[in-house]
Protein backbone atom coordinates (compact mmCIF):
# COMPACT_ATOMS: atom_id res chain seq x y z
CA UNK A 1 0.00 0.00 0.00
CA UNK A 2 2.70 2.44 1.02
CA UNK A 3 4.66 1.91 -2.17
CA UNK A 4 1.65 2.71 -4.33
CA UNK A 5 0.82 5.61 -2.09
CA UNK A 6 4.34 6.98 -2.36
CA UNK A 7 4.36 6.50 -6.11
CA UNK A 8 1.12 8.40 -6.38
CA UNK A 9 2.32 11.40 -4.44
CA UNK A 10 5.77 11.57 -5.99
CA UNK A 11 4.34 11.40 -9.50
CA UNK A 12 5.00 14.30 -11.85
CA UNK A 13 1.49 15.68 -11.64
CA UNK A 14 1.54 15.73 -7.87
CA UNK A 15 4.90 17.44 -7.71
CA UNK A 16 3.69 20.08 -10.13
CA UNK A 17 0.47 20.59 -8.21
CA UNK A 18 2.29 20.99 -4.89
CA UNK A 19 4.69 23.49 -6.40
CA UNK A 20 1.76 25.38 -7.90
CA UNK A 21 -0.20 25.37 -4.64
CA UNK A 22 2.83 26.36 -2.57
CA UNK A 23 3.62 29.23 -4.93
CA UNK A 24 0.02 30.46 -4.91
CA UNK A 25 -0.19 30.25 -1.15
CA UNK A 26 3.17 31.99 -0.68
CA UNK A 27 2.11 34.86 -2.93
CA UNK A 28 -1.23 35.17 -1.18
CA UNK A 29 0.38 35.02 2.28
CA UNK A 30 2.87 37.72 1.33
CA UNK A 31 0.32 39.91 -0.44
CA UNK A 32 -0.46 42.34 2.43
CA UNK A 33 3.20 43.42 2.47
CA UNK A 34 3.30 43.92 -1.27
CA UNK A 35 0.04 45.51 -2.32
CA UNK A 36 -1.65 48.73 -1.23
CA UNK A 37 -4.91 49.01 0.67
CA UNK A 38 -7.03 49.22 -2.44
CA UNK A 39 -5.59 46.04 -3.94
CA UNK A 40 -5.88 44.32 -0.58
CA UNK A 41 -9.59 45.05 -0.56
CA UNK A 42 -9.84 43.70 -4.09
CA UNK A 43 -8.05 40.55 -2.93
CA UNK A 44 -10.53 40.20 -0.08
CA UNK A 45 -13.38 40.40 -2.59
CA UNK A 46 -11.64 37.83 -4.81
CA UNK A 47 -11.09 35.38 -1.95
CA UNK A 48 -14.64 35.93 -0.75
CA UNK A 49 -16.02 34.95 -4.13
CA UNK A 50 -13.54 32.06 -4.39
CA UNK A 51 -14.86 30.80 -1.06
CA UNK A 52 -18.54 31.14 -1.94
CA UNK A 53 -17.87 29.67 -5.37
CA UNK A 54 -16.20 26.67 -3.77
CA UNK A 55 -19.21 26.22 -1.48
CA UNK A 56 -21.70 26.48 -4.35
CA UNK A 57 -19.61 24.12 -6.44
CA UNK A 58 -20.27 21.30 -3.96
CA UNK A 59 -23.90 21.36 -4.97
CA UNK A 60 -23.67 22.02 -8.68
CA UNK A 61 -20.16 20.93 -9.59
CA UNK A 62 -20.05 17.77 -7.51
CA UNK A 63 -23.65 16.64 -7.15
CA UNK A 64 -25.15 18.31 -10.23
CA UNK A 65 -27.88 20.26 -8.43
CA UNK A 66 -28.17 23.76 -9.87
CA UNK A 67 -28.88 26.26 -7.09
CA UNK A 68 -29.54 29.86 -8.05
CA UNK A 69 -30.49 30.95 -4.56
CA UNK A 70 -27.27 30.69 -2.58
CA UNK A 71 -27.64 34.28 -1.41
CA UNK A 72 -30.21 32.81 0.95
CA UNK A 73 -27.60 30.84 2.91
CA UNK A 74 -25.07 33.66 2.98
CA UNK A 75 -27.79 36.09 4.03
CA UNK A 76 -29.04 33.78 6.77
CA UNK A 77 -25.51 33.36 8.09
CA UNK A 78 -25.01 37.11 8.04
CA UNK A 79 -28.26 37.87 9.82
CA UNK A 80 -27.92 35.12 12.44
CA UNK A 81 -24.41 36.20 13.40
CA UNK A 82 -25.25 39.92 13.24
CA UNK A 83 -28.38 39.62 15.40
CA UNK A 84 -26.54 37.51 17.97
CA UNK A 85 -23.79 40.13 18.06
CA UNK A 86 -25.96 43.23 18.12
CA UNK A 87 -28.66 42.01 20.50
CA UNK A 88 -26.80 39.54 22.71
CA UNK A 89 -23.14 40.50 22.37
CA UNK A 90 -22.24 37.04 21.11
CA UNK A 91 -19.10 37.03 18.97
CA UNK A 92 -18.92 36.00 15.31
CA UNK A 93 -17.33 32.58 15.82
CA UNK A 94 -20.05 31.46 18.20
CA UNK A 95 -22.48 33.18 15.84
CA UNK A 96 -21.05 31.05 13.05
CA UNK A 97 -21.79 27.95 15.14
CA UNK A 98 -25.40 29.12 15.22
CA UNK A 99 -25.45 30.14 11.57
CA UNK A 100 -24.32 26.71 10.35
CA UNK A 101 -27.33 24.78 11.67
CA UNK A 102 -29.66 27.58 10.56
CA UNK A 103 -28.38 27.55 6.99
CA UNK A 104 -28.07 23.76 6.87
CA UNK A 105 -31.63 23.38 8.17
CA UNK A 106 -32.87 25.82 5.55
CA UNK A 107 -30.98 23.92 2.84
CA UNK A 108 -32.39 20.68 4.21
CA UNK A 109 -35.95 21.98 4.01
CA UNK A 110 -35.52 23.11 0.41
CA UNK A 111 -33.71 19.90 -0.49
CA UNK A 112 -36.25 17.69 1.27
CA UNK A 113 -39.21 19.36 -0.44
CA UNK A 114 -37.59 19.41 -3.86
CA UNK A 115 -36.01 15.96 -3.91
CA UNK A 116 -39.06 14.26 -2.37
CA UNK A 117 -41.39 15.75 -4.95
CA UNK A 118 -39.05 15.07 -7.85
CA UNK A 119 -38.38 18.74 -8.54
CA UNK A 120 -35.16 18.75 -10.58
CA UNK A 121 -33.16 20.67 -13.17
CA UNK A 122 -34.53 24.06 -14.14
CA UNK A 123 -37.46 23.61 -11.78
CA UNK A 124 -35.14 23.04 -8.85
CA UNK A 125 -33.09 26.11 -9.81
CA UNK A 126 -36.20 28.27 -9.85
CA UNK A 127 -37.39 26.81 -6.54
CA UNK A 128 -34.10 27.96 -4.98
CA UNK A 129 -34.61 31.44 -6.46
CA UNK A 130 -38.12 31.49 -5.04
CA UNK A 131 -36.92 30.71 -1.51
CA UNK A 132 -34.20 33.36 -1.70
CA UNK A 133 -36.65 35.96 -2.99
CA UNK A 134 -39.13 34.93 -0.32
CA UNK A 135 -36.45 35.54 2.31
CA UNK A 136 -35.50 38.89 0.75
CA UNK A 137 -39.01 40.26 0.87
CA UNK A 138 -39.69 38.56 4.22
CA UNK A 139 -36.64 40.08 5.93
CA UNK A 140 -37.66 43.42 4.46
CA UNK A 141 -40.69 43.23 6.75
CA UNK A 142 -39.20 41.76 9.94
CA UNK A 143 -39.00 44.53 12.50
CA UNK A 144 -36.63 42.55 14.75
CA UNK A 145 -33.86 42.87 12.16
CA UNK A 146 -34.78 46.46 11.39
CA UNK A 147 -36.59 45.45 8.16
CA UNK A 148 -35.63 47.40 5.06
CA UNK A 149 -33.89 50.11 7.09
CA UNK A 150 -30.99 47.71 7.51
CA UNK A 151 -29.10 46.18 10.39
CA UNK A 152 -25.91 47.93 11.46
CA UNK A 153 -23.12 46.40 13.46
CA UNK A 154 -21.45 48.72 15.96
CA UNK A 155 -18.05 49.77 14.68
CA UNK A 156 -15.43 49.95 17.34
CA UNK A 157 -11.99 51.46 17.09
CA UNK A 158 -9.55 48.79 18.22
CA UNK A 159 -5.86 49.18 18.99
CA UNK A 160 -5.14 45.56 18.17
CA UNK A 161 -6.64 43.22 15.66
CA UNK A 162 -9.24 41.21 17.50
CA UNK A 163 -9.73 38.01 15.53
CA UNK A 164 -12.08 36.60 18.15
CA UNK A 165 -14.53 39.46 17.57
CA UNK A 166 -13.59 40.01 13.93
CA UNK A 167 -12.69 43.60 14.60
CA UNK A 168 -9.58 44.99 13.01
CA UNK A 169 -7.91 46.29 9.87
CA UNK A 170 -8.32 44.89 6.36
CA UNK A 171 -5.15 42.81 6.72
CA UNK A 172 -6.79 40.78 9.47
CA UNK A 173 -9.92 40.26 7.40
CA UNK A 174 -7.71 39.27 4.50
CA UNK A 175 -6.02 36.51 6.49
CA UNK A 176 -9.35 35.30 7.87
CA UNK A 177 -10.87 34.91 4.41
CA UNK A 178 -7.62 33.43 3.07
CA UNK A 179 -7.68 30.82 5.82
CA UNK A 180 -11.35 30.11 5.09
CA UNK A 181 -10.61 29.67 1.39
CA UNK A 182 -7.76 27.26 2.13
CA UNK A 183 -9.97 25.27 4.51
CA UNK A 184 -12.77 25.18 1.92
CA UNK A 185 -10.31 24.01 -0.74
CA UNK A 186 -9.00 21.19 1.43
CA UNK A 187 -12.51 20.24 2.54
CA UNK A 188 -13.72 20.08 -1.05
CA UNK A 189 -10.75 17.95 -2.08
CA UNK A 190 -11.43 15.53 0.78
CA UNK A 191 -15.14 15.45 -0.04
CA UNK A 192 -14.51 14.86 -3.71
CA UNK A 193 -12.21 11.92 -3.00
CA UNK A 194 -14.51 10.43 -0.37
CA UNK A 195 -17.14 7.76 -0.87
CA UNK A 196 -19.78 10.50 -0.78
CA UNK A 197 -17.89 12.43 -3.46
CA UNK A 198 -17.95 9.46 -5.81
CA UNK A 199 -21.66 9.03 -5.13
CA UNK A 200 -22.19 12.71 -5.95
CA UNK A 201 -20.34 12.43 -9.21
CA UNK A 202 -22.35 9.35 -10.11
CA UNK A 203 -25.55 11.32 -9.46
CA UNK A 204 -24.26 14.26 -11.48
CA UNK A 205 -23.52 12.08 -14.48
CA UNK A 206 -26.68 9.98 -14.42
CA UNK A 207 -29.01 9.94 -11.48
CA UNK A 208 -31.12 7.01 -12.65
CA UNK A 209 -28.07 4.86 -13.24
CA UNK A 210 -26.64 5.87 -9.86
CA UNK A 211 -29.82 4.85 -8.12
CA UNK A 212 -29.91 1.59 -10.01
CA UNK A 213 -26.36 0.92 -8.86
CA UNK A 214 -27.46 1.34 -5.25
CA UNK A 215 -26.37 4.92 -4.57
CA UNK A 216 -28.68 6.45 -1.93
CA UNK A 217 -29.40 9.42 -4.18
CA UNK A 218 -31.85 11.23 -1.93
CA UNK A 219 -29.55 11.15 1.09
CA UNK A 220 -26.50 12.11 -0.96
CA UNK A 221 -28.26 15.11 -2.50
CA UNK A 222 -29.42 16.17 0.96
CA UNK A 223 -25.82 16.05 2.21
CA UNK A 224 -24.76 18.16 -0.75
CA UNK A 225 -27.32 20.90 -0.05
CA UNK A 226 -26.62 20.94 3.67
CA UNK A 227 -22.83 20.99 3.42
CA UNK A 228 -22.96 23.63 0.70
CA UNK A 229 -25.38 25.78 2.70
CA UNK A 230 -23.38 25.43 5.91
CA UNK A 231 -20.16 26.44 4.19
CA UNK A 232 -21.84 29.38 2.46
CA UNK A 233 -23.17 30.65 5.79
CA UNK A 234 -19.61 31.37 6.90
CA UNK A 235 -19.27 33.74 3.96
CA UNK A 236 -22.34 35.53 5.30
CA UNK A 237 -20.83 35.87 8.78
CA UNK A 238 -17.68 37.29 7.23
CA UNK A 239 -19.73 39.67 5.08
CA UNK A 240 -21.64 40.97 8.11
CA UNK A 241 -18.51 41.76 10.09
CA UNK A 242 -16.51 43.09 7.16
CA UNK A 243 -19.13 45.50 5.83
CA UNK A 244 -20.93 46.10 9.15
CA UNK A 245 -24.28 46.69 7.51
CA UNK A 246 -26.94 44.37 6.19
CA UNK A 247 -29.87 45.22 3.98
CA UNK A 248 -32.24 42.45 2.88
CA UNK A 249 -32.41 44.12 -0.53
CA UNK A 250 -28.63 43.68 -0.77
CA UNK A 251 -27.75 40.39 0.86
CA UNK A 252 -30.65 38.29 -0.43
CA UNK A 253 -30.66 39.87 -3.89
CA UNK A 254 -30.62 37.44 -6.78
CA UNK A 255 -27.62 39.38 -8.06
CA UNK A 256 -25.60 38.04 -5.10
CA UNK A 257 -26.57 34.47 -6.02
CA UNK A 258 -25.54 35.03 -9.62
CA UNK A 259 -22.22 36.62 -8.62
CA UNK A 260 -21.51 33.56 -6.50
CA UNK A 261 -21.91 31.13 -9.35
CA UNK A 262 -20.22 33.10 -12.15
CA UNK A 263 -16.74 32.39 -10.74
CA UNK A 264 -16.94 28.60 -10.62
CA UNK A 265 -18.66 28.42 -14.01
CA UNK A 266 -16.05 30.65 -15.63
CA UNK A 267 -13.24 28.85 -13.82
CA UNK A 268 -14.52 25.37 -14.53
CA UNK A 269 -17.52 23.76 -12.95
CA UNK A 270 -16.89 20.74 -10.71
CA UNK A 271 -13.17 21.47 -10.46
CA UNK A 272 -11.31 22.51 -7.32
CA UNK A 273 -9.25 25.26 -8.92
CA UNK A 274 -12.15 26.57 -11.00
CA UNK A 275 -13.79 28.68 -8.29
CA UNK A 276 -10.46 30.25 -7.30
CA UNK A 277 -9.35 30.91 -10.85
CA UNK A 278 -12.78 32.18 -11.83
CA UNK A 279 -12.82 34.61 -8.91
CA UNK A 280 -9.47 36.03 -9.97
CA UNK A 281 -10.52 36.31 -13.61
CA UNK A 282 -13.90 37.94 -12.94
CA UNK A 283 -13.01 40.34 -10.15
CA UNK A 284 -9.69 41.09 -11.81
CA UNK A 285 -11.51 41.90 -15.02
CA UNK A 286 -14.09 44.11 -13.32
CA UNK A 287 -11.51 46.00 -11.28
CA UNK A 288 -9.11 46.55 -14.17
CA UNK A 289 -11.98 47.86 -16.27
CA UNK A 290 -12.85 50.26 -13.46
CA UNK A 291 -9.23 51.40 -13.20
CA UNK A 292 -8.95 51.91 -16.96
CA UNK A 293 -12.13 53.96 -16.99
CA UNK A 294 -10.88 55.99 -14.04
CA UNK A 295 -7.49 56.51 -15.71
CA UNK A 296 -9.17 58.02 -18.75
CA UNK A 297 -11.32 60.15 -16.49
CA UNK A 298 -14.44 58.52 -17.88
CA UNK A 299 -17.42 58.18 -15.66
CA UNK A 300 -20.28 56.54 -17.47
CA UNK A 301 -22.52 54.45 -15.25
CA UNK A 302 -23.06 51.12 -16.95
CA UNK A 303 -20.20 51.26 -19.46
CA UNK A 304 -17.88 49.08 -17.40
CA UNK A 305 -20.66 46.59 -16.78
CA UNK A 306 -21.52 46.40 -20.47
CA UNK A 307 -17.92 45.58 -21.28
CA UNK A 308 -17.83 43.10 -18.42
CA UNK A 309 -20.88 41.38 -19.84
CA UNK A 310 -19.28 41.24 -23.28
CA UNK A 311 -16.09 39.71 -21.85
CA UNK A 312 -18.21 37.16 -19.98
CA UNK A 313 -19.97 36.32 -23.21
CA UNK A 314 -16.68 35.81 -25.04
CA UNK A 315 -15.32 33.51 -22.32
CA UNK A 316 -18.52 31.45 -22.31
CA UNK A 317 -18.55 31.08 -26.07
CA UNK A 318 -14.82 30.39 -26.40
CA UNK A 319 -14.28 28.15 -23.36
CA UNK A 320 -17.28 25.90 -22.81
CA UNK A 321 -15.60 23.99 -19.98
CA UNK A 322 -14.29 27.08 -18.24
CA UNK A 323 -10.74 28.32 -17.84
CA UNK A 324 -9.22 25.60 -15.65
CA UNK A 325 -9.75 22.34 -17.62
CA UNK A 326 -7.83 23.46 -20.74
CA UNK A 327 -5.16 25.02 -18.53
CA UNK A 328 -4.89 21.84 -16.45
CA UNK A 329 -4.46 19.78 -19.60
CA UNK A 330 -1.73 22.13 -20.76
CA UNK A 331 0.04 21.74 -17.42
CA UNK A 332 -0.42 17.98 -17.49
CA UNK A 333 -2.51 18.05 -14.32
CA UNK A 334 -5.85 17.09 -15.71
CA UNK A 335 -5.71 13.44 -14.75
CA UNK A 336 -5.21 13.98 -11.02
CA UNK A 337 -6.88 17.40 -10.72
CA UNK A 338 -9.64 17.53 -13.30
Amino acid sequence: MSAAWLARFSGGAWRRIFVLLALLLAVLLAAPWIVNDYLLTVLIVILYSAFTGQAWNIMMGFAGQLSLGHALYAGLGAYVAAVLFVDFGIGPWLGFLAAVPAAAACGAIIGFLAFRFGVAGVYFAILTIAFAEFARIGFDHIAAVNASAGLFLPVRQVAHNDVWHLRGDPTMFYYVILAATVVAFILCRLLLESRLGYFWRAIREDEEAARAAGVPTFRCKMYAVMISAALTSFAGVFYAFFYNNLFPEQVFNIGRSIEMILGPIIGGIGTLFGPILGAFVLTGLAESLNSIMAAFGLSMPGATQVFYGVCLLVVIVALPEGVWPPLARRLGLFKEWP
Binding site: M60, L66, L68, L113, A114, F117, G118, V119, G121, V122, Y123, A125, I126, L127, I129, A130, F131, E133, F134, I137, G138, D140, H141, S148, I254, G255, I258, I261, L262, I265, I266, I269, M300, P301, G302, A303, Q305, V306, Y308, G309, V310, L312, L313, I316, V317, P320
Partner: protein, 290 residues
Protein backbone atom coordinates in the same frame (compact mmCIF):
# COMPACT_ATOMS: atom_id res chain seq x y z
CA UNK B 1 -63.66 47.75 3.05
CA UNK B 2 -66.73 47.77 0.80
CA UNK B 3 -67.10 44.99 -1.71
CA UNK B 4 -66.75 47.20 -4.80
CA UNK B 5 -63.23 48.19 -3.75
CA UNK B 6 -62.30 44.52 -3.89
CA UNK B 7 -64.09 44.08 -7.19
CA UNK B 8 -62.23 47.01 -8.71
CA UNK B 9 -58.91 45.66 -7.51
CA UNK B 10 -59.78 42.20 -8.84
CA UNK B 11 -60.55 43.61 -12.29
CA UNK B 12 -57.39 45.74 -12.32
CA UNK B 13 -55.38 42.70 -11.21
CA UNK B 14 -56.81 40.53 -13.98
CA UNK B 15 -56.13 43.15 -16.65
CA UNK B 16 -52.53 43.65 -15.52
CA UNK B 17 -52.28 39.88 -15.22
CA UNK B 18 -53.18 39.51 -18.90
CA UNK B 19 -50.19 41.63 -19.87
CA UNK B 20 -47.99 39.61 -17.49
CA UNK B 21 -49.44 36.52 -19.11
CA UNK B 22 -48.48 37.67 -22.60
CA UNK B 23 -44.93 38.35 -21.42
CA UNK B 24 -44.76 34.92 -19.79
CA UNK B 25 -46.24 33.37 -22.92
CA UNK B 26 -43.06 34.40 -24.71
CA UNK B 27 -40.92 32.63 -22.14
CA UNK B 28 -43.14 29.56 -22.30
CA UNK B 29 -43.02 29.34 -26.09
CA UNK B 30 -39.23 29.66 -26.08
CA UNK B 31 -38.77 27.04 -23.39
CA UNK B 32 -41.40 24.71 -24.82
CA UNK B 33 -39.72 24.57 -28.22
CA UNK B 34 -36.06 25.56 -27.92
CA UNK B 35 -35.67 24.09 -24.39
CA UNK B 36 -33.60 27.10 -23.39
CA UNK B 37 -34.59 29.03 -20.30
CA UNK B 38 -34.45 32.66 -21.28
CA UNK B 39 -32.84 34.33 -18.28
CA UNK B 40 -32.80 37.63 -20.18
CA UNK B 41 -36.56 37.67 -20.66
CA UNK B 42 -37.34 40.62 -18.40
CA UNK B 43 -34.39 42.52 -19.83
CA UNK B 44 -35.82 42.06 -23.32
CA UNK B 45 -39.10 43.34 -21.90
CA UNK B 46 -37.34 46.48 -20.71
CA UNK B 47 -35.88 47.04 -24.20
CA UNK B 48 -39.42 46.97 -25.58
CA UNK B 49 -40.60 49.34 -22.87
CA UNK B 50 -37.85 51.82 -23.69
CA UNK B 51 -38.71 51.59 -27.38
CA UNK B 52 -42.30 52.49 -26.55
CA UNK B 53 -41.23 55.35 -24.27
CA UNK B 54 -38.82 56.80 -26.83
CA UNK B 55 -41.33 56.56 -29.67
CA UNK B 56 -43.90 58.32 -27.52
CA UNK B 57 -41.54 61.02 -26.26
CA UNK B 58 -40.00 61.76 -29.67
CA UNK B 59 -42.89 61.33 -32.09
CA UNK B 60 -45.94 61.22 -29.85
CA UNK B 61 -46.72 57.71 -31.06
CA UNK B 62 -49.16 55.91 -28.81
CA UNK B 63 -47.81 52.65 -27.33
CA UNK B 64 -51.04 50.91 -28.31
CA UNK B 65 -50.51 51.79 -31.98
CA UNK B 66 -46.82 50.95 -31.71
CA UNK B 67 -47.58 47.51 -30.32
CA UNK B 68 -47.17 45.71 -33.64
CA UNK B 69 -44.07 47.64 -34.87
CA UNK B 70 -42.34 47.13 -31.52
CA UNK B 71 -43.28 43.45 -31.55
CA UNK B 72 -41.78 43.26 -35.07
CA UNK B 73 -38.53 44.90 -33.93
CA UNK B 74 -38.30 42.53 -30.99
CA UNK B 75 -39.04 39.61 -33.31
CA UNK B 76 -36.01 40.54 -35.39
CA UNK B 77 -33.93 40.91 -32.23
CA UNK B 78 -35.00 37.51 -30.96
CA UNK B 79 -34.49 35.84 -34.34
CA UNK B 80 -30.95 37.16 -34.68
CA UNK B 81 -30.14 36.31 -31.08
CA UNK B 82 -31.17 32.70 -31.50
CA UNK B 83 -29.62 32.31 -34.95
CA UNK B 84 -26.34 33.96 -34.02
CA UNK B 85 -25.73 33.25 -30.37
CA UNK B 86 -28.01 30.66 -28.83
CA UNK B 87 -28.26 28.00 -31.56
CA UNK B 88 -24.68 26.82 -30.96
CA UNK B 89 -25.60 26.47 -27.28
CA UNK B 90 -28.64 24.23 -27.60
CA UNK B 91 -26.60 21.08 -27.11
CA UNK B 92 -24.58 22.53 -24.23
CA UNK B 93 -25.47 21.84 -20.58
CA UNK B 94 -28.11 23.93 -18.82
CA UNK B 95 -25.70 25.94 -16.70
CA UNK B 96 -23.80 26.95 -19.81
CA UNK B 97 -26.95 28.29 -21.50
CA UNK B 98 -27.90 29.97 -18.27
CA UNK B 99 -24.61 31.81 -18.12
CA UNK B 100 -24.88 32.94 -21.73
CA UNK B 101 -28.24 34.53 -21.08
CA UNK B 102 -27.11 36.02 -17.77
CA UNK B 103 -24.25 37.70 -19.62
CA UNK B 104 -26.73 39.00 -22.14
CA UNK B 105 -28.96 40.28 -19.34
CA UNK B 106 -26.04 42.12 -17.75
CA UNK B 107 -25.23 43.74 -21.10
CA UNK B 108 -28.84 44.81 -21.72
CA UNK B 109 -29.44 46.29 -18.25
CA UNK B 110 -26.25 48.30 -18.34
CA UNK B 111 -26.56 49.36 -21.96
CA UNK B 112 -29.99 50.79 -21.09
CA UNK B 113 -28.48 52.47 -18.05
CA UNK B 114 -25.75 53.91 -20.22
CA UNK B 115 -28.16 55.24 -22.84
CA UNK B 116 -31.14 56.37 -20.78
CA UNK B 117 -29.70 57.03 -17.32
CA UNK B 118 -31.11 55.73 -14.06
CA UNK B 119 -34.28 57.85 -13.94
CA UNK B 120 -37.72 56.37 -14.40
CA UNK B 121 -39.41 57.13 -17.74
CA UNK B 122 -43.10 57.25 -18.27
CA UNK B 123 -45.70 57.58 -21.02
CA UNK B 124 -48.40 60.21 -20.48
CA UNK B 125 -51.22 59.37 -22.85
CA UNK B 126 -54.30 61.58 -23.19
CA UNK B 127 -56.41 58.77 -21.75
CA UNK B 128 -54.09 58.05 -18.80
CA UNK B 129 -56.70 59.11 -16.27
CA UNK B 130 -59.84 57.96 -18.13
CA UNK B 131 -61.96 55.15 -16.85
CA UNK B 132 -65.04 53.22 -17.81
CA UNK B 133 -68.03 52.97 -15.53
CA UNK B 134 -69.57 49.48 -15.54
CA UNK B 135 -72.20 49.39 -12.86
CA UNK B 136 -70.32 49.55 -9.56
CA UNK B 137 -67.03 48.93 -11.36
CA UNK B 138 -64.61 51.65 -12.36
CA UNK B 139 -62.20 50.24 -14.93
CA UNK B 140 -59.00 52.06 -15.74
CA UNK B 141 -58.98 52.80 -19.50
CA UNK B 142 -55.21 52.17 -19.94
CA UNK B 143 -55.46 48.81 -18.23
CA UNK B 144 -58.55 47.84 -20.21
CA UNK B 145 -56.83 48.65 -23.54
CA UNK B 146 -53.66 46.85 -22.43
CA UNK B 147 -55.55 43.76 -21.28
CA UNK B 148 -57.65 43.67 -24.46
CA UNK B 149 -54.59 44.00 -26.68
CA UNK B 150 -52.85 41.23 -24.73
CA UNK B 151 -55.77 38.88 -25.38
CA UNK B 152 -55.78 39.78 -29.08
CA UNK B 153 -52.04 39.22 -29.42
CA UNK B 154 -52.16 35.92 -27.56
CA UNK B 155 -55.12 34.77 -29.68
CA UNK B 156 -53.20 35.55 -32.86
CA UNK B 157 -50.25 33.53 -31.59
CA UNK B 158 -52.49 30.59 -30.65
CA UNK B 159 -54.01 30.66 -34.13
CA UNK B 160 -50.56 30.78 -35.72
CA UNK B 161 -49.35 27.71 -33.83
CA UNK B 162 -52.60 25.86 -34.34
CA UNK B 163 -53.41 26.50 -37.98
CA UNK B 164 -50.38 27.70 -39.95
CA UNK B 165 -47.93 25.27 -41.54
CA UNK B 166 -44.93 26.96 -39.93
CA UNK B 167 -46.67 26.84 -36.57
CA UNK B 168 -47.30 23.13 -37.01
CA UNK B 169 -43.65 22.61 -37.98
CA UNK B 170 -42.55 24.43 -34.83
CA UNK B 171 -44.80 22.22 -32.73
CA UNK B 172 -43.25 19.21 -34.43
CA UNK B 173 -39.78 20.41 -33.33
CA UNK B 174 -41.06 20.78 -29.79
CA UNK B 175 -42.58 17.32 -29.76
CA UNK B 176 -39.67 15.45 -31.20
CA UNK B 177 -36.35 17.07 -32.06
CA UNK B 178 -34.87 14.05 -33.83
CA UNK B 179 -38.13 13.33 -35.62
CA UNK B 180 -38.24 16.88 -36.89
CA UNK B 181 -34.71 16.53 -38.26
CA UNK B 182 -35.58 13.23 -39.90
CA UNK B 183 -38.55 14.62 -41.81
CA UNK B 184 -36.33 17.40 -43.09
CA UNK B 185 -37.37 20.39 -41.06
CA UNK B 186 -34.85 23.20 -40.79
CA UNK B 187 -34.80 23.02 -37.00
CA UNK B 188 -32.30 25.81 -36.44
CA UNK B 189 -34.33 28.26 -38.50
CA UNK B 190 -37.52 27.19 -36.75
CA UNK B 191 -35.81 27.69 -33.40
CA UNK B 192 -34.82 31.19 -34.47
CA UNK B 193 -38.40 31.85 -35.55
CA UNK B 194 -39.67 30.59 -32.21
CA UNK B 195 -37.29 32.74 -30.22
CA UNK B 196 -38.37 35.63 -32.43
CA UNK B 197 -42.01 34.94 -31.65
CA UNK B 198 -41.26 34.75 -27.94
CA UNK B 199 -39.46 38.06 -28.19
CA UNK B 200 -42.42 39.51 -30.11
CA UNK B 201 -44.70 38.58 -27.20
CA UNK B 202 -42.33 40.45 -24.93
CA UNK B 203 -42.33 43.37 -27.36
CA UNK B 204 -46.11 43.61 -27.35
CA UNK B 205 -46.35 43.12 -23.59
CA UNK B 206 -43.61 45.67 -22.92
CA UNK B 207 -45.23 48.23 -25.18
CA UNK B 208 -48.50 47.91 -23.26
CA UNK B 209 -46.81 47.72 -19.90
CA UNK B 210 -45.67 51.33 -20.34
CA UNK B 211 -49.34 52.33 -20.04
CA UNK B 212 -49.42 50.76 -16.58
CA UNK B 213 -45.99 51.31 -14.98
CA UNK B 214 -42.86 53.46 -15.28
CA UNK B 215 -39.72 51.97 -16.74
CA UNK B 216 -36.19 52.03 -15.30
CA UNK B 217 -33.09 50.18 -16.56
CA UNK B 218 -33.02 47.89 -13.53
CA UNK B 219 -36.60 46.72 -13.96
CA UNK B 220 -35.45 43.78 -16.13
CA UNK B 221 -34.51 41.19 -13.49
CA UNK B 222 -37.82 41.79 -11.70
CA UNK B 223 -39.73 40.89 -14.84
CA UNK B 224 -37.52 37.90 -15.52
CA UNK B 225 -38.40 36.51 -12.11
CA UNK B 226 -42.05 37.38 -12.56
CA UNK B 227 -42.14 35.59 -15.91
CA UNK B 228 -40.63 32.49 -14.29
CA UNK B 229 -43.12 32.52 -11.48
CA UNK B 230 -46.01 32.83 -13.94
CA UNK B 231 -44.80 30.24 -16.38
CA UNK B 232 -44.04 27.64 -13.74
CA UNK B 233 -47.33 28.29 -12.01
CA UNK B 234 -49.18 27.84 -15.28
CA UNK B 235 -46.97 25.03 -16.57
CA UNK B 236 -43.73 25.48 -18.51
CA UNK B 237 -44.43 24.92 -22.18
CA UNK B 238 -48.18 25.34 -21.90
CA UNK B 239 -49.48 28.40 -23.73
CA UNK B 240 -52.85 28.58 -22.02
CA UNK B 241 -51.08 27.94 -18.72
CA UNK B 242 -48.94 31.04 -19.17
CA UNK B 243 -52.02 33.24 -19.58
CA UNK B 244 -53.79 31.59 -16.66
CA UNK B 245 -50.66 31.95 -14.51
CA UNK B 246 -50.39 35.61 -15.51
CA UNK B 247 -53.96 36.30 -14.45
CA UNK B 248 -53.46 34.39 -11.19
CA UNK B 249 -50.26 36.24 -10.32
CA UNK B 250 -51.67 39.62 -11.37
CA UNK B 251 -54.68 38.97 -9.17
CA UNK B 252 -52.57 37.79 -6.23
CA UNK B 253 -50.34 40.83 -6.42
CA UNK B 254 -53.28 43.22 -6.61
CA UNK B 255 -55.11 41.63 -3.68
CA UNK B 256 -51.96 41.28 -1.57
CA UNK B 257 -51.22 44.95 -2.23
CA UNK B 258 -54.69 45.86 -1.01
CA UNK B 259 -54.98 43.55 1.99
CA UNK B 260 -51.37 43.66 3.19
CA UNK B 261 -48.76 46.10 1.99
CA UNK B 262 -47.83 46.73 -1.66
CA UNK B 263 -44.13 46.11 -0.94
CA UNK B 264 -44.89 42.55 0.17
CA UNK B 265 -46.99 41.71 -2.87
CA UNK B 266 -44.41 39.64 -4.74
CA UNK B 267 -43.89 37.52 -1.63
CA UNK B 268 -47.32 36.06 -2.24
CA UNK B 269 -46.47 35.39 -5.86
CA UNK B 270 -43.38 33.48 -4.71
CA UNK B 271 -45.42 31.62 -2.10
CA UNK B 272 -47.75 30.45 -4.88
CA UNK B 273 -44.74 29.39 -6.92
CA UNK B 274 -43.34 27.34 -4.04
CA UNK B 275 -46.69 25.65 -3.46
CA UNK B 276 -47.11 24.84 -7.13
CA UNK B 277 -43.57 23.50 -7.44
CA UNK B 278 -44.11 21.26 -4.47
CA UNK B 279 -47.56 19.89 -5.13
CA UNK B 280 -47.92 20.18 -8.87
CA UNK B 281 -44.43 20.66 -10.29
CA UNK B 282 -45.68 20.43 -13.86
CA UNK B 283 -47.77 23.56 -13.25
CA UNK B 284 -51.51 24.07 -13.29
CA UNK B 285 -51.99 23.23 -16.96
CA UNK B 286 -48.68 21.54 -17.71
CA UNK B 287 -48.26 17.98 -18.80
CA UNK B 288 -46.81 15.49 -16.35
CA UNK B 289 -43.07 15.72 -15.93
CA UNK B 290 -41.24 12.73 -17.29
Amino acid sequence: MPLDVYLNVVVAGILTGLVYGLMALGLSVIFGVVRVVNFAHGEMMSIAMYLAVVLFASFGLDPLLMLVPIAAVMFAFGYLLQAGLINPFITRPEHSQFLLLVALAIIIVNALLLIFGPDARTVQTSYAYDSFQLGPLLVDASKAYAGGAAIAFAAALFAFFRYSRVGTAIRACADNYTGALVIGLDVKRLYALTFGLGAACVGAAGSMMTLIVDVTPIIGPTYTLLAFVIVITGGLGSMAGALLGGILIGLTEALAGLVFTPSAKSMFAFAILVLVLLFRPQGLLGQRLS
